[in-house]
């Protein structure tokens, strides 16, 4: 895919649903007298394009700039510098036309009126987006059926589970039939079944030809759904490619996944100190501890891993795996 180096002509911009070049955003904190006390660059010049009908993922750690990017592209925030075109329209000038043609799914509990029903929410947003009332009367019940809320549509949203609310978010974003959909961490906090339902809906949207920008914390989700993935870290795009190409960056390593009991931080540090270990990521707080070791040695490292175990600790399960997008991601964001 050709990457444009300067603002595209009208004809060129028609090739891209999203065109971003040199986008920057600075947040400043001011004192009582208006003087700047602190300045933070949330975005330091990012470039990427999304083709029509593409499902593009934006991944990165907390505070990397994902939400700032989405806010700018959805016209909720003015960029400090750079250019961004959405469906060929300028995010600085064509606010309302862009908003009419995009849909936004906010993750979590934000964005719904909890004291009224799902139908009331959809009717309200349908009117705000200017949907013909006759069309809305047909579209809203069908949308509720598509997202699996038919039969519960007249209940107050406050009675809904997290998963139901998220499905309503999807319906809300689709109520005006947008061409481009922004999904900001749509599966965050959902149980596995709820998250799977949302992922299936995302696939359906893709099959329908919608262009989608998805942000997520879950690497397997990005790997499973996205055609291309941009990795954002400290306000910069540090890699942008297909999931398989990104994984190729870490083909030189294997991954040992351990499920442990009684492991300590000292043990993790001991593993990190091994000369042939590239990276160790540990979660010792959960009920079932997990430790992920990246190493070029693969299974040959296991005797050293076992030998370093402290007294009383046990390895419950161990698996040697090919590296995943998560391993590539960890390398990229830590470099």
């Amino acid at each position: 895919m050709q990457v444009l180096e300067q603002k595209p002509t009208d004809a060129e911009s028609r090739e891209w649903a999203v065109w971003v070049k040199g986008l920057t955003r600075e947040y400043t904190t001011r004192n009582f007298f208006g003087g700047v006390t602190r300045s933070t660059w949330a975005l330091s010049g990012i470039d990427f394009q999304i083709a029509y009908g593409e499902l593009f993922g934006l991944i990165g750690p907390n505070g990397a700039g994902k939400t700032t990017t989405i806010k700018i592209l959805t016209t909720l925030l003015t960029p400090t510098g750079g250019d961004a075109l959405i469906l060929g329209l300028d995010v600085r000038k064509d606010l309302y036309e862009i908003r009419r043609r995009i849909g936004i799914v906010f993750g979590g509990e934000r964005g719904l009126y909890n004291r009224v029903s799902a139908v009331d929410n959809l009717r309200y947003f349908s009117d705000l987006y200017g949907v013909d009332p006759g069309v809305a009367r047909k579209r809203i019940p069908q949308l509720l059926e598509v997202v699996g809320l038919a039969g519960r549509e007249k209940e107050r949203v406050e009675k809904y589970s997290r998963g139901m609310k998220q499905r309503l978010h999807i319906a809300k974003a689709l109520v005006h039939d947008p061409e481009l959909i922004f999904l900001d961490e749509p599966t965050i906090g959902l149980d596995p079944a709820g998250a799977r339902d949302i992922r299936n809906m995302v696939r359906d949207l893709k099959a329908q030809g919608k262009t989608i920008l998805l942000t997520t914390h879950y690497m397997f989700e990005a790997e499973e759904l996205c055609q291309r993935v941009g990795v954002i870290s400290k306000g910069k795009i540090v890699a942008l490619d297909t999931p398989s190409e990104l994984k190729n960056m870490v083909r030189d390593i294997s991954v040992i996944d351990l499920k442990t009991y009684g492991a300590t931080m000292d043990y993790v540090e001991a593993l990190r100190a091994l000369p042939i270990v590239v990276r160790v990521v540990a979660d010792l707080e959960s009920e079932q501890q997990s430790i992920r070791i990246q190493t070029p040695l693969g299974a040959d490292l296991l005797p050293k891993v076992v030998a370093a175990l402290p007294e009383g600790a046990k390895i419950i399960d161990r698996t040697i795996k090919e590296p995943t997008l998560e391993d590539a991601y960890l390398r990229l964001v830590e470099e």
């Binding site: 806010k71 959805t74 009224v116 009331d120 987006y129 069309v135 069908q142 109520v175 005006h176 099959a207």
Partner: protein, 280 residues
């Protein structure tokens, strides 16, 4: 089983006025739903007006000189109720989205925020009218206040115009409160001075002269005057006629509206610049 492919295309309403009317309708509809969803609506709309009226009547009971004075009180109490509801509810009309977590979704809609706020303010002022009607009913039924109006048509016209002027004032206040997260403080501090300055309970001519310019800048001041001229026989208030009051009120209402729409544009631009308007 319906799939995404079966959904009808989202055809849009065309025409500037049809689009704006649709936004106003949606905003009024949602505000009404949210209002009645909270059982506490009874407090500002039934209990508070009742208490207002009681206090006013018992305060002035010994000093009344005929039914027209009681009607003066009823109209004053009604307007206090209208103003109280307007300032409280309008202040919270958009601020509500901030703590409800819907500010981002509201700001992301393809319509100016001012039209969404206008719908909400119109509904809130309308419930203020119902509040005033309730006070009138208490006055008529409980205190046997005579309700013979000098000019019913003029009274109706002045009431509608005052309703619209209160709405425009509420819209103007919404912009100020949008910018400040201390909305409640501003709301509370505005309520009583406006009761006094607009002459709801006693003629503003009794106020020290330094307060009069402030009183004259408030459109409801002229609305109350026009309502009283149209309702009360032999009413003596400001040295203006009914139509002069109406013209001044209309001019101030348009000034409020113009300023409110201008400020909304500035607020939206500011919100996009700072990116924290949705934070509570």
């Amino acid at each position: 089983m319906v799939s995404m492919h079966d959904l009808p295309p989202g055809k849009r309403v065309s025409g500037y006025f049809a689009q704006k009317a649709q936004v106003l309708k949606a905003s009024i509809f949602l505000t009404r739903k949210l209002f009645f969803a909270d059982p506490q609506w009874v407090i500002p709309n039934i209990i508070a007006p009742f208490v207002f009226t009681m206090v006013a009547f018992f305060l002035f009971q010994g000093q009344t000189s005929g039914s027209s004075f009681l009607l003066y009180l009823v109209l004053g109490s009604g307007l206090m109720g209208m103003w109280g509801t307007t300032i409280y509810a309008s202040a919270n009309s958009i601020g509500f989205d901030r703590w409800n977590g819907t500010m981002e979704a509201t700001l992301a809609a393809p319509v100016p925020l001012s039209w969404i706020a206008l719908g909400r303010v119109l509904f809130n002022t309308l419930q203020g009218v119902l509040n005033a009607v309730f006070i009138l009913v208490i006055g008529l039924a409980w205190f046997r206040v005579g309700f013979s109006l000098v000019n019913p048509a003029a009274f109706f016209l002045a009431s509608v115009a005052t309703f619209l002027s209160l709405s425009s004032f509420g819209l103007l206040l919404t912009t100020v409160l949008l910018l400040s997260r201390k909305g409640g403080f501003i709301t509370n501090s505005m309520e009583i001075p406006v009761y006094i300055a607009t002459g709801t309970m006693f003629p503003i001519i009794l106020l020290p002269i330094v307060y009069l310019p402030f009183a004259f800048m408030l459109a409801p001041t002229w609305g109350i005057e026009a309502i009283r001229i149209a309702a009360l026989p032999g009413y003596v208030g400001l040295p203006t006629t009914y139509w002069e009051d109406m013209v001044i009120m209309a001019a101030e209402t348009f000034a409020y509206l113009g300023l409110a729409f201008f400020l909304f544009k500035r607020v939206e631009a500011y919100a996009k610049r700072i990116g924290t308007l949705e934070e509570y």
